[in-house]
Amino acid sequence: MIRLRQTGFSYLFLLPSFLLTAVLGIYPIGWAIWYMFFDYKGYGTASFVGLDNFDRLLRDTLFWDTVVNTFVYAGGKLLITIPLALVLAVILNRSFRGRSALRAIVFLPTIISSAVMAVVFYMLFNSYNGLLNQYLLKLHLIPERIDWLGPDHAMLTAIMIAVWGAIGNYMLLFLAGLQNIPQDIYESSSLDGASRWQQFWYLTVPMLGPVLQMVIMLAIINSLKGYESIMVLTDGGPIGKTEVMYLYVYKLFFPTPSASFTADQQFGYGSAVGFATAVIVGLVTIVYHLLSRRLNQLQ
């Protein structure tokens, strides 16, 4: 009897959470899995087309371009963010005056909306009346305006902005990991004559191993998924140079004026592309996982 009452009470308390998760979290995924086998434009009737959407996906060079762009964007962001965040964490783990203020400054971008910052960075970087060019010209650091958001530099600019927003978060994660490393190994190693650099390379990095692997995993997933900032900054332009795969999916469902590849909503095909992006992210995660396990075994 008591057991039954407990179960009833539990279900009652679980109901809001379960209902919301099922209806707004799980059902939409089911919806997408259902419609990726249909030709459905959002109006009229949906007609079953089997695997046609996936056939189209394989031949959709625009999509595969966005996959390449996604890897360039995520790779560039990681290659700058992770080493920089790690070095900052190691420095900010020592005690010196102004340490907590510096930590607070480095973490600050994490609390600011990436959409809002993209608007700010747009005003900084745009070539016509962007503030950055004007400052650089005035300081005679560049001979002429640089087209930061033009076809040649837009991706680099997007990556720099992503690094700006991400570095504090990973710095803090590394810092949490560093605080679990016992301090006495540093003392004994410096008695043995190890330099700071040797300590970093042969003590800190290996001791941080598991944390490092987890943080990098997190960073990979986050940077493959991120598209909000690019969406506001360039909307994938110019000429698709910063179009990343999740932004491509978005435009298939909510066409923007700049989405030259589709004027229509394409729910069926969009679902298939969305599914493919999830699979790609999943595959990258698995490959990374296997590689890092291999690395562990070698050590």
């Binding site: 998760t21 707004l24 995924i29 809002v116």
Partner: protein, 294 residues
């Protein structure tokens, strides 16, 4: 004591720092200075830019405004509709924070303290929603559902969607509850307290630190949320939040003459969180570091 100190000090070579060490210290200091400057630069430009005339910004090359144009805020407030955006952002963040904390804490309570069939399934379901992401696809069925419920013309639709993503807070509260002793529950039960009473009178007050961090996390997330409010207000400019309203200015036909409004709007969006951050940056940092442990 004094003897010990002198011995220790004599052993440490810190008084006779070799030139290399000093050079290293200077380099590290320089590095930190550059990083801090790069991080703060866009924010400083935003702050000062919001107090310049549009002409002054466009002419460029200046950091500090010649004449502080506080009127920008007044105009952005009235003409660019930022009063409305600010209220919408606040409404969305406050309601979804309260909702998330209630829903997640109720679920965490029964999952941690009760036994019932299907518990593992529920936990698995929560974990799955955190890891599976098919991008913007889910926005469409979510939107259609809200149309059916007639919630697409209010912000409540977005609120419900934000609350539905409470898995992260659920797991934080769950791990925190695990650390709370069950003895208090038992004592309260013997005194005749009901299950709901234990949740409300005993555990929620004890959970306060975790709820605080969770609230900060959720509020920040909702305040900075862009895509969901964007999609839900495509036909409803009156419902736009600060993030959405601001991005509309950037793509609007009058963007070039409204730079100062955009800076003022960005400031309005950043300032509330910034003030909270200055007061309690330790708590903000907890929400990231906590994710490593929890």
């Amino acid at each position: 004591m004094t003897n010990m100190a002198t011995v220790v000090q004599a052993k440490r070579p810190s008084r006779y720092l070799p030139a290399g060490r000093i050079g290293g210290k200077v380099l590290i200091g320089l590095f930190l200075l550059i990083i801090a400057a790069l991080i703060l630069f866009p924010l400083i430009v935003t702050g000062f830019g919001s107090l310049m005339t549009n002409a002054e910004i466009t002419a460029g090359g200046k950091l500090i405004p010649a004449d502080w144009q506080f009127i920008n805020y007044k105009e952005a407030w009235v003409q660019a509709n930022f009063s409305r955006f600010l209220w919408n952002s606040f409404f969305l963040s406050a309601t979804s924070t309260i909702g998330t904390l209630i829903v997640a804490s109720m679920a965490a309570y029964v999952v941690e303290r009760m036994t019932f069939p299907g518990k593992a399934l529920f936990v698995g379901l929560q974990a799955a929603t955190m890891f599976i992401s098919i991008g913007a696809v889910v926005l469409r069925p979510q939107f259609q559902l809200m149309v059916k419920l007639h919630l697409h013309t209010t912000l409540w639709g977005v609120v419900l969607i934000l609350i539905s993503a409470h898995a992260y807070i659920f797991f934080i509260l769950l791990s925190f509850l695990k650390g709370l002793s069950r003895e208090l529950d038992e004592a309260a039960r013997i005194d005749g307290c009901s299950n709901a009473g234990i949740y409300w009178r005993i555990l929620l007050p004890l959970l306060r630190p975790a709820l605080g961090v969770g609230a900060l996390f959720t509020f920040c997330g909702a305040w900075n949320e862009y895509l969901r409010p964007l999609v839900f207000t495509l036909n409803n400019p009156e419902l736009q939040t600060l993030t959405v309203g601001l991005s509309y200015l950037r793509y609007g036909p009058t963007a070039a003459v409204q730079t100062h409004y955009m800076f003022a709007g960005a400031c309005l969006s950043i300032l509330p969180l910034l003030l909270a951050y200055v007061v309690a940056n330790k708590s903000f940092m907890q929400m990231t570091a906590g994710s490593l442990k929890g």
